[in-house]
């Protein structure tokens, strides 16, 4: 991306002067990636901030040419994905998955689109919440591919670069992820139909309260 190439060359010539712009331009996407991988806002904030700090320290150790040649979007994404993976491993040590899942926080209320009307917004919010939860139930490998390719919007090439997997593998994982998400949402829709007011998220709430 052009703005990224320009930013990389500025970072190469003066890291400290350019870094605030990098933070400004990439903080939302790094936070989004971490949130959609982990499902917890506080963890996501720490991971996104840590990713920025690690990027800064890495660039401090790189020479001018290496920084100038960085493809910032996939590179930063790969740092965030690795930090999220380490954090999830620690989280898995603390709680068995059966207890972890109800604690997952879809983080959706921040994603409300102000442009849509209140009724439209409420309906879409439900869909989005279910989608965010369905995303968290994918295997970590497939989830990372979907989050980078379709939430963050990296190309297949960039996703492959960020995750260190061949492009063919990424395509297959994205395909599988989309299929599983569609199935999950269709199942939810089918289950919801008899009592339309009780969405999946609403059914999850008592479990959430019990654990908190």
């Amino acid at each position: 991306m052009d703005t990224d190439a320009a930013l990389a060359s500025r970072l190469a010539s003066d890291l400290e002067a350019g870094f605030p712009d990098l933070v400004d331009q990439h903080q939302d996407r790094l936070y989004t990636i971490a949130l959609r991988l982990l499902g917890d806002r506080r963890d996501a904030e720490e991971v996104a901030q840590d990713a920025l700090v690690r990027a800064f320290r890495a660039m401090q150790g790189y020479g001018h040419d290496r920084v100038a040649a960085l493809r910032l979007r996939p590179w930063l994404a790969s740092i965030a994905v690795n930090l999220a993976r380490n954090r999830r491993r620690r989280a898995d040590d603390r709680l068995p998955p059966s207890q972890l899942e109800p604690l997952l926080d879809s983080g959706f209320d921040i994603a409300v689109d102000a442009r849509s009307g209140p009724e439209h917004g409420a309906a879409r919010r439900e869909t989005q919440r279910e989608l965010a939860l369905a995303l968290l139930r994918l295997t970590p490998t497939v989830r990372a591919a979907i989050v980078l390719r379709h939430v963050d919007g990296l190309s297949v090439t960039e996703t492959a670069e960020a995750l260190g997997r061949p492009e063919g593998t990424i395509k297959a994982q994205v395909h599988r992820g989309l299929r599983e998400l569609r199935v999950a949402l269709e199942v939810d829709a089918a289950q919801t139909r008899p009592t339309p007011t009780r969405t999946h998220a609403a059914r999850l709430l008592p479990a959430l309260e019990a654990i908190r």
């Binding site: 936070y31 904030e45 800064f56 989608l131 995303l135 969405t199």
Partner: protein, 269 residues
């Protein structure tokens, strides 16, 4: 109730809408962690309330100010970085600072001294070696860092100490024994800080006025700075005061290995 996104295009569009904005503090937190911005909070000191600023590299600034806003604007003007208040000093840092103020020189406090000259940093690091409740002349610092003629520059460097109290520039006094200047509020503030460390500044200044620069013991024949802990153990009966190291040497005294007194040139102010 909800329209299910069944096509890939609809599903992809819904996934794009899962993008969210980062929380408000994230960007600033990243800048603080990398040392491109700072946070600050109030701390209690022997001079009353002061403010301490820090970032991911360490403590960057200590100063007195009537309020946080004044401290912030001074910091921005002087350091040139953005700064925002924190609710409190991080616990580890707060503990380290209070232990350092209580005289524990072993406690490590990371300092962010970027933008200062190696000479200034050398002066400040040397000041850190002076024990609590003791003082050394400017010329001693100059000699110890291998720049015996740079006494005036040592004074200037100490006046520019960005982290007073944490780096105890108040423990460096004029070579004639007088208290000298202090960036945290002049000689009176310096007397107060030294007093809080158990040093009797009235006694120190009286000795200086009487021309007593060094303290010797007629049992050990060792000569010290008057505030050296070894000098203060000498009983009245055995104490011998000297106006200069040369006079002490002539009387057969050798310099203390702890406080390492040096000959100060007449030019030393």
């Amino acid at each position: 109730m909800t329209t299910m996104p069944l096509t890939d295009a609809a599903l992809e569009a819904a996934l794009r809408e899962l993008r969210v904005e980062a929380p408000a503090g994230l960007a600033f937190g990243a800048l603080v962690a990398t040392g491109l911005a700072d946070r600050y909070a109030a701390i209690d000191t022997p001079l009353g309330r002061a403010f301490v600023a820090w970032n991911g590299r360490g403590v960057s600034w200590v100063g007195r100010a009537p309020d946080g806003v004044t401290f912030e604007s001074r910091f921005r003007a002087e350091v040139g970085r953005d700064i925002a208040p924190a609710t409190a000093v991080p616990e580890r840092l707060a503990t380290a600072i209070s232990r350092r103020l209580a005289g524990d020189r072993r406690v490590r406090i990371p300092l962010d001294l970027r933008g200062h000259t190696p000479f200034e940093v050398a002066v400040w690091m040397k000041a850190l070696e002076i024990p609590r409740g003791e003082v050394r002349p400017y010329g001693w610092i100059a000699a110890e860092i291998g720049k015996p003629r740079a006494v005036r520059a040592v004074g200037t460097a100490l006046a520019h100490n960005p982290v007073p109290l944490v780096v105890p520039c108040h423990r460096v006094v004029r070579s004639d024994g007088m208290i000298g200047q202090y960036s945290m509020g002049g000689p009176d503030a310096k007397r107060r800080v030294l007093g809080s460390e158990g040093l009797d500044t009235a006694w120190l200044e009286a000795e200086a006025a009487a021309g007593h620069r060094y303290t010797g013991s007629d049992t050990t024949h060792i000569v010290c700075h008057p505030t050296c802990r070894d000098a203060r153990r000498v009983t009245d009966r055995h104490r011998v005061m000297f106006p200069s190291l040369a006079a002490a040497a002539a009387a057969g005294y050798r310099p203390c290995r702890h406080c390492r007194p040096v000959s100060l040139s007449a030019a030393a102010a």
